[in-house]
């Protein structure tokens, strides 16, 4: 279990690092797919197979392909010779390392590395989680309104993306 976790984490983090450092944007997009796959693996380890499937469909199947389309449509910007980083990349590195240190400090203070405590869930409740989620999403006193708002958001994004990307009429 721990070995699988470490392997998946290494896949996720290494390909995430490739995403932000690779000069070739297309390779970065492929690495992003690998990173999303690793995250889906972590979801499986967390006993949430449904989210792993949604991750495969939405992130790897849709968002990565969308990103690849955008990369190919803006192809001339893929030149690998010029630097992929702006002038403030050192400060970006310092900031992100500082933020990581802060996160790690807080995490290790509150949840020590050896703290293996976990709230045991019955197999029935983990197996029925998708059914329960479906019922909760449309329950009036739970998530019905956020659910409808999410569908409105998706519709707005659909229309907005088309309108923004539409060529201007001369």
């Amino acid at each position: 279990m721990a070995v699988i976790f470490v392997l998946i984490s290494i896949l996720t983090l290494v390909s995430g690092f490739i995403v932000v450092t690779n000069r070739n944007l297309f390779h970065a997009a492929l690495a992003m797919m690998a990173s999303f796959l690793g995250v889906a693996g972590l979801y499986v380890l967390l006993a949430m197979g449904f989210m792993a499937a949604a991750q495969l469909l939405v992130y790897i199947g849709a968002i990565s392909i969308l990103v690849m389309f955008a990369i190919m449509m803006t192809r001339r910007m893929m030149q690998t010779r010029e630097t992929p980083f702006n002038s403030q990349w050192r400060w970006g590195l310092v900031t992100s390392l500082f933020v990581f240190g802060l996160f790690a400090y807080v995490i290790l203070r509150v949840w020590p590395l050896t703290d293996r405590s976990i709230v045991e869930a019955s197999d029935a409740s983990l197996a029925g989680i998708v059914v329960q989620m479906g019922q909760d999403l449309v329950a009036r006193d739970l998530y019905a309104i956020p659910f409808e708002l999410a569908s409105v958001l998706l519709l707005a994004a659909l229309i907005g993306a088309i309108v923004i990307a539409l060529p201007e009429k001369r």
């Binding site: 279990m1 690092f17 995403v19 970065a28 900031t95 995490i107 329960q132």
Partner: protein
């Protein structure tokens, strides 16, 4: 079966978030910045599901919230990439520091 400590998941998620943060702060290409934002959203989702599994596995708040994050990420990617393509068409560039229309 010995459970993996919760902090391992949190550390991996924090590392992924900070990798994404570095990408957002330092990449020049707008598409690369959007890709880094997606990495950060993934890190948040790992955190949500880890906390759900380790503390409240009988409720559905964690996965439902993660699905809403997924929805917003999909909407953000669609609109963001449409903006990049529109900018590329008008300014002939997707380098973030060239986009200074609002400066003058």
């Amino acid at each position: 079966m010995a459970a993996i400590p919760l902090s391992w998941y949190l550390l991996v998620a924090a590392a992924l978030f900070c990798i994404g943060l570095y990408g957002v702060l330092s990449r020049r290409n707008a598409v690369a910045i959007l890709m880094s934002v997606e990495l950060m959203l993934n890190a948040v989702n790992i955190n949500l599901l880890a906390f759900w599994r380790y503390n409240w596995p009988d409720g559905t708040a964690g996965p439902v919230w993660a699905i809403f994050v997924l929805t917003v990420a999909a909407a953000e990617a669609a609109v963001g990439l449409a903006l990049v393509i529109s900018v590329y068409r008008n300014r002939d560039s997707v380098v973030a520091e060239d986009l200074d229309l609002l400066r003058n």
